[in-house]
């Protein structure tokens, strides 16, 4: 995928961030490279919302270990992450297993 694809991803992600976390008030000082953490832009509910948007729109599954600032702390970083994910195995969302270490309430 080329630069055009990344630019389109950034455009879509930026629109979502501006609509949902800046309430449509796109500030010229907000750039696609800005850290969400440093700007205090997105809290825990914001991240949850952003992850749902990305997983639904781009049909990818995000593992816990991928939930790091390197992948999620700016529009640019998310776009880059999505580009990598869409060209790789999307993963699985629900995991079933034997509850060996989980005891029932007494």
């Amino acid at each position: 995928m080329g630069r055009e694809v990344i630019m389109e991803l950034e455009r879509e992600l930026r629109t979502f961030v501006v609509d949902n976390f800046l309430f449509g008030q796109a500030d010229e000082t907000f750039s696609n490279a800005d850290s969400f953490l440093e700007k205090g832009l997105i809290d825990s509910m914001g991240i949850l919302t952003l992850v749902e948007f990305v997983t639904d729109k781009y049909s990818i599954v995000v593992e816990d270990e991928e939930m790091v600032p390197e992948n999620w702390d700016s529009v640019q970083r998310i776009a880059s992450f999505v580009q990598k994910k869409t060209s790789a195995n999307p993963g699985t969302s629900t995991m079933c297993f034997a509850l060996e270490s989980q005891s029932n309430r007494q």
């Binding site: 953490l37 205090g40 809290d43 825990s44 509910m45 991240i47 949850l48 919302t49 992850v51 749902e52 995000v62 816990d64 270990e65 939930m67 790091v68 600032p69 999620w72 969302s93 629900t94 995991m95 079933c96 297993f97 034997a98 509850l99 989980q102 005891s103 029932n104 309430r105 007494q106």
Partner: protein
């Protein structure tokens, strides 16, 4: 600003005699003089926080002026009622059992919660158990995304990431529990002309681990300024039964056993105590790392996580926001 103190676990050590004396005085002043009530109502969960709160109220007001309320529901551990009763017998206080399960059923608490869980685990239904969990904060620099762990009646377990809609649905339904309990506590406070004692410790109060107008609501909060390890120190000094002191802190809110660490704090509470203390007192990440046997990177991650929790739960501490001044109403004694 960094301090030059010799930072170790000892910084959290209290002088228990003096602490109990000062707290007793403050509780007496607050309840009898400021709030002008005749005693205190304490919801008893069988955990260390409510036990120490009740014991302090007895020290301050006398056992005749303290009412313990047990409020079990469908997902409560049997230990909660058993240990709560043991505490009340030891203190010699009057108690009342209020089973809140029928009220919660009528409110749709369980049905609404299960419907929210079915958004991510479609098979979830009667006989299943569940709990909400967070990733391990120390393992990696993860954003905290909640997952639900569910267990079917035949023992099969599933773990699924919660969508925003499912997460909010589960939390909103579950919050009926804390709010119903508080409503019951205030019923007894009103009929006795007592004040309601809140039981959060500092980790919970500072980081917003409470339900607004639920367990976050109270007339006074005797241990909200104390770190969790300090609550244990007071518990030992006051003679709280050992079984209560040894009980792992639990939310006692979900049907699968769930520690507070899994649900909210992500790290052992004694470690979090030291990190919060260090952060509050400007202690460097390196010093806290040495005292906690963590890496500097892990401590930095915890500092960031604390900041994030304080910022994102600020709303919980905010009183109703007025759109204009009402000068004739004076707010008394708020910290």
């Amino acid at each position: 600003m960094n301090t030059t103190i010799d930072f170790s676990r000892d910084v959290l050590l209290l002088a228990p005699d003096a602490a109990v004396r000062e707290l007793s005085h403050s509780i007496r002043q607050t309840v009898l003089r400021n709030l002008r009530r005749w005693g205190a109502v304490v919801g008893l969960s069988g955990g260390v926080d409510s036990s120490v709160t009740a014991a302090l109220c007895v020290q301050a007001l006398g056992k005749e002026r303290v009412l313990g309320v047990f409020m079990p529901e469908e997902d409560s551990s049997e230990d909660s009622l058993r240990l709560g009763r043991r505490l009340a017998e030891w203190l010699g206080i009057a108690t009342v059992v209020e089973n809140i399960a029928p009220a919660l059923r009528e409110l749709g608490c369980y049905e609404r919660r299960d419907a929210a869980i079915r958004k991510v685990i479609p098979d979830y239904g009667p006989g299943w158990k569940s709990k909400i969990v967070l990733p391990d904060l120390l393992a990696a620099s993860y954003y905290s995304l909640y997952s639900i762990v569910a267990q079917s009646p035949d023992g099969k377990a599933c773990k699924a990431r919660l969508t925003p809609e499912a997460y909010l649905g589960v939390v909103a339904a579950t919050n009926f529990k804390q709010r119903t309990r508080k409503m019951v506590e205030y019923y007894h406070a009103d009929r006795l002309w007592y004040a309601v004692a809140g039981t959060p410790n500092r980790l919970e109060h500072a980081q917003g681990f409470f339900v607004k107008n639920g367990d976050g609501s109270a007339d006074f909060k005797p241990i909200a300024h104390l770190y969790k390890t300090q609550v244990y120190q007071l518990g030992r000094h006051l003679g709280v039964p050992e079984e209560i002191l040894r009980r792992p802190p639990t939310t006692d809110t979900y049907s699968l056993e769930q520690s507070q660490e899994e649900f909210f704090f992500s790290i052992p509470l004694e470690t979090l105590d030291l990190c919060l203390y260090g952060k509050n007192h400007g202690v460097s990440v390196a010093e806290v790392a040495q005292a906690t046997a963590l890496t500097a990177e892990q401590v930095q991650r915890i500092y960031t996580n604390i900041e994030s929790k304080i910022a994102s739960t600020r709303y919980l501490h905010m009183p109703p926001q007025l759109m204009g001044p009402v000068e004739e109403v004076e707010v008394l004694g708020s910290h």
